[in-house]
């Protein structure tokens, strides 16, 4: 009988950078700012004119909810054009087109060189609706796995110890 051990790599995410797109100047509306600040784990929200983005700092020792951040932008009537999350890593080995557990969540790395992450690193979320439709199309072609379409583990992942339906975040570096 095979025993699967899932090693949980230690890391804590500290901040995210979200680019929002819409018909009007997204930063010039109070709506997104309000919506993001209502999330319990968000400490500060700062607009960044150079990148047309919001820089969001998380509260220390609080777990950031990536999906909740995206929903907050959408609830304000905008969509996410780019979503970058910054984490502090220590010896987190990542391989192209493979899943790895980081801080209790599953991540699927695409379009990367196999490497070991150390120190502060930015991950770009490439799940559907976390980037433009054309960028999503490009990345989704980079894997044969079905989870890129849904952001959730398929039944095929069960043999790797992941229950079907588990949220998998697709990321690149």
């Amino acid at each position: 009988m095979a025993v699967f051990v899932i090693v949980d790599m230690q890391a804590q995410f500290t901040k995210a950078t979200i680019q929002a797109s819409g018909l009007t100047c997204a930063m010039c509306s109070r709506a997104i700012d309000n919506s993001l600040k209502q999330l319990s784990f968000v400490a500060t929200v700062q607009p960044d004119i150079k990148n047309s983005a919001f820089n969001i700092m998380f509260k220390q020792n609080d777990t950031a909810d990536i999906d909740a951040l995206k929903k907050a932008v959408e609830d304000a009537g905008f969509s996410v054009a780019k979503f970058t999350i910054t984490g502090v890593f220590s010896n987190t080995a990542v391989k192209n087109d493979e899943h790895v557990a980081i801080a209790g969540k599953e991540y699927h790395f695409l379009n990367i060189q196999d490497q070991v992450l150390n120190g502060e690193k930015n991950l770009v979320i490439i799940d559907k609706n976390f980037l433009t439709a054309s960028a999503f199309k490009k990345y989704s072609a980079a894997t044969g796995m079905q989870c890129i379409k849904t952001g959730k583990a398929g039944s095929c992942c069960e043999k790797a110890g992941l229950a079907a339906g588990t949220r998998i975040f697709h990321v690149t570096i």
Binding site: M27, P47, I49
Partner: protein, 159 residues
């Protein structure tokens, strides 16, 4: 009769949370300029005043600054003033933008972004938002830009 009463109640509750209405006297605003000196809106009584809410990170506001820079010198000579309220949290960003846009009218800053007291009192939900006041401090128009703004200022200056 009951129905009429209900309707009038509804209007009252909306008015309370809304922006200062056109035709009303502007509430007093006292905020600090770049040097830290308090500047009151009431000190500009007798002038036609544009209250302009903006921030350094607001692209459309920066664009609007360009127009204001072009009309300000000649209108100032006739009794016009701009009272710009930046909602920048970072004062350095604000100062850099003032220098970059070559702004030489009254600039005050209110720390706290959208939720800062004055921005909240005026119920600012997007920027740029501007109010044009006549010489008595009465709110005449909101969000005028370009030629419409120029002609309204000139009209008020003649009164």
């Amino acid at each position: 009769m009951k129905q009429l009463l209900f309707v009038s109640f509804l209007l009252v509750s909306i008015a309370v949370s809304a922006q200062p209405p056109i035709g009303s006297l502007s509430p007093e605003i006292i905020l600090k300029d770049v040097s830290g000196n308090a500047v009151s809106l009431s000190s500009l009584k007798g002038k036609v005043v544009l209250i302009d809410f903006w921030a350094s990170w607001c692209g459309p506001c920066r664009k609007a600054n360009k127009h204001l820079v072009s009309i300000y010198p000649s209108l100032k000579a006739k009794g016009f003033e701009i009272y710009s309220i930046s909602i920048d949290d970072d004062k350095n960003d604000w100062k850099k933008a003032i220098a970059a846009d070559k702004i030489n009218w009254l600039q005050v800053n209110e720390n706290g972004g959208w939720n800062a007291p004055v921005a909240s009192q005026w119920n600012i939900n997007q920027i740029p938002t501007s109010y044009l006041l006549d010489k008595e401090g009465k709110i005449i128009a909101r969000d005028l830009a370009g030629r419409q703004l120029d002609s309204k200022i000139n009209q008020l200056l003649k009164k």
